[in-house]
């Protein structure tokens, strides 16, 4: 057989398809990937270290800056961890507002996920369409929280504020329209022949490997592993909603993409039920929480299902008003850990498809 010389190619750090500043050092044999070494850390800000010098409440805005595409879910994981540490009860109305804003964040994040996935493969229209609906969600979130991306809406013990007048009706209207939009994406992107050819049977991940490598979110469920924390270990009021967990069959790029698409439908279902149920619930949106938070000495680990996967917070308290240690289990970071083996044997062009099917946010990877 003819032997060719292997060569290196720097994919990134400045490359539009890396979704930020991220580098893969590829070893190529012709166009085949022999090895792909991911290099991250370009966006490392030391959030875990910074948190040690902040009070418990002051840490909340930092969590926004990790996965800024689904900021509410990042807030939620942290505040629930602190609540668990202190044994704080959250008012019911706040729980519903958390579910609603969290699921809105999830839809917004998945819209970017699938839109950018299409864009990376060359379908610019799909990207623009997804951004059209994302903008509507951003408007709603801005009205609710005062901010478009870095929401900082969750508070320890509840949420910052109640929904403004008429907001729930506007939300309901958008959620009623959403299935129509999703159908439109399904026709344009999912049903697209070129898109399918580029993603089907590319980057196949077996369920055993996915579990062994601690992958989570649509990356894990695309391989057919039924593990969604909202169902497996319901937190908050998630046990009151009726929804399904979409699963893939082959564990390829297409299945991971489709999981996100179908998850949006389920999120819409959850929000619709929450909007109905919240009507019956009145009362405060924040519980009785002391002005100065001093959790008892101890530690807690709490994890929730974010849009990218499982986000977990490990918080250690030494009894003072600042956390002794905060560690974040970031789904994007751990999902990337298997990238090297995932790209081996595929073509250079497939690297783009595989990377975007994992749906990473570099703010979260580098923390």
């Amino acid at each position: 057989m003819l032997r060719t010389q292997e060569y290196f190619l720097n994919f990134g750090p400045q490359h539009p398809s890396t979704h930020g500043v991220f580098q893969i050092i590829l070893t190529l044999d012709g166009e085949r990937i022999v090895k792909g070494e991911p290099v991250c850390g370009y966006l490392h800000r030391g959030i875990e270290k910074l948190a040690e010098a902040r009070t418990y409440t002051q840490v909340i805005p930092y969590t926004d800056r990790m996965d800024y595409l689904a900021a509410m879910l990042q807030n939620l994981g942290y505040v629930q961890a602190v609540e668990k540490l202190m044994g704080i009860e959250v008012p019911e109305r706040a729980e519903y507002l958390r579910v609603i804003s969290g699921e809105l964040s999830r839809i917004a994040s998945h819209l970017i996920g699938i839109g950018v996935n299409a864009l990376d493969i060359g379908a610019f229209t799909g990207f623009l369409l997804c951004f059209r609906e994302r903008e509507k969600i951003m408007d709603l979130l801005e009205e609710l929280t005062g901010s478009r991306m870095t929401l900082s809406y969750a508070r320890i013990g509840g949420v910052a504020d109640d929904a403004p007048e008429g907001w729930l009706d506007r939300l309901k209207k958008l959620m009623d329209e959403m299935p129509g939009y999703i159908e439109e994406y399904q026709g344009l992107i999912t049903g697209n022949e070129i898109f399918q050819a580029r993603t089907k049977f590319i980057g196949i991940l077996s369920p055993e490997t996915a579990i062994n490598y601690s992958l989570s979110g649509p990356t894990l469920r695309g391989s057919g592993v039924n593990y969604d924390l909202r169902k497996a270990r319901p937190y908050g009021v998630y046990d009151r909603f009726d929804f399904e967990v979409p699963l893939g069959e082959n564990g390829d790029c297409f299945d991971r993409f489709l999981c996100r698409m179908l998850e949006m439908e389920q999120s819409v279902r959850i929000i619709q039920q929450a909007v109905e149920q919240i009507k019956e619930v009145d009362g405060p949106v924040i519980g009785k929480v002391p002005k100065v938070l001093k959790p008892p000495k101890g530690e807690v680990y709490h994890e929730i299902e974010s849009s990218k996967g499982i986000i977990g917070y490990y918080v250690v308290s030494d009894g003072s008003n600042k956390p002794y240690r905060v560690h974040v289990r970031r789904p994007s970071f751990i999902n990337l850990g298997y990238l090297d083996e995932m790209v081996r044997g595929y073509l250079l062009a497939d690297v783009v498809a595989i990377l975007s099917s994992i749906d990473i946010v570099l703010g979260e990877v580098d923390c």
């Binding site: 270290k49 992958l215 270990r233 101890g298 490990y314």
Partner: protein
């Protein structure tokens, strides 16, 4: 908030006398028994998903504490396992052969806290620059030019 399911700690304790269990059902395992114990958790108790691995610096007790959070996808329960590492000799066997998910998490701990994991296939810095000196998440880390 819904109550979390915790792995059958009593059963595990019966089988492995050397572990300690505290009131929060957290298991502490001696450093030299770590690999044997972890392998048994995976094989016998279906704890197949290493969700989180991290470490904390306790300079007053002259130790690092490495924390493992392990879930069972099939059974739906979870377990927190801890082990102490001497601060003067920060070395610990890697659990990478048991759970592949430890790969990058151990590299992160090595990078930020300076605990060396023996048996790890590619132990080098992951977030910070290769030439960076020191390990920022250690409590005695000082960086001139920083605000705090």
């Amino acid at each position: 908030m819904a109550k979390e399911k915790i792995a059958p700690v009593d059963e595990i304790k019966q089988k492995f006398g050397y572990i300690e269990v505290d009131e929060a059902m957290t298991v502490t395992v001696p450093r030299d028994k770590l690999l044997e114990f972890m392998q048994a958790l995976k094989d016998e108790f279906a704890l197949d998903y290493l969700t989180n691995e991290t470490a904390v610096d306790y300079p007053e007790e002259n130790k690092f504490q490495v924390v493992y959070n392990i879930n069972s996808i099939e059974k739906g329960y979870s377990l927190m396992v801890k082990t102490d590492v001497d601060r003067d000799n920060p070395e610990l066997p890697s659990v990478f052969p048991i759970w592949g998910g430890a790969n990058w998490q151990e590299r992160e701990i090595y990078d930020l806290l300076g605990i060396a994991f023996t048996g790890h296939p590619n132990l080098k810095r992951i977030l910070l620059d290769d030439q960076f000196e020191g390990h920022p998440l250690r409590k005695d880390f000082q960086w001139e030019g920083g605000r705090e």
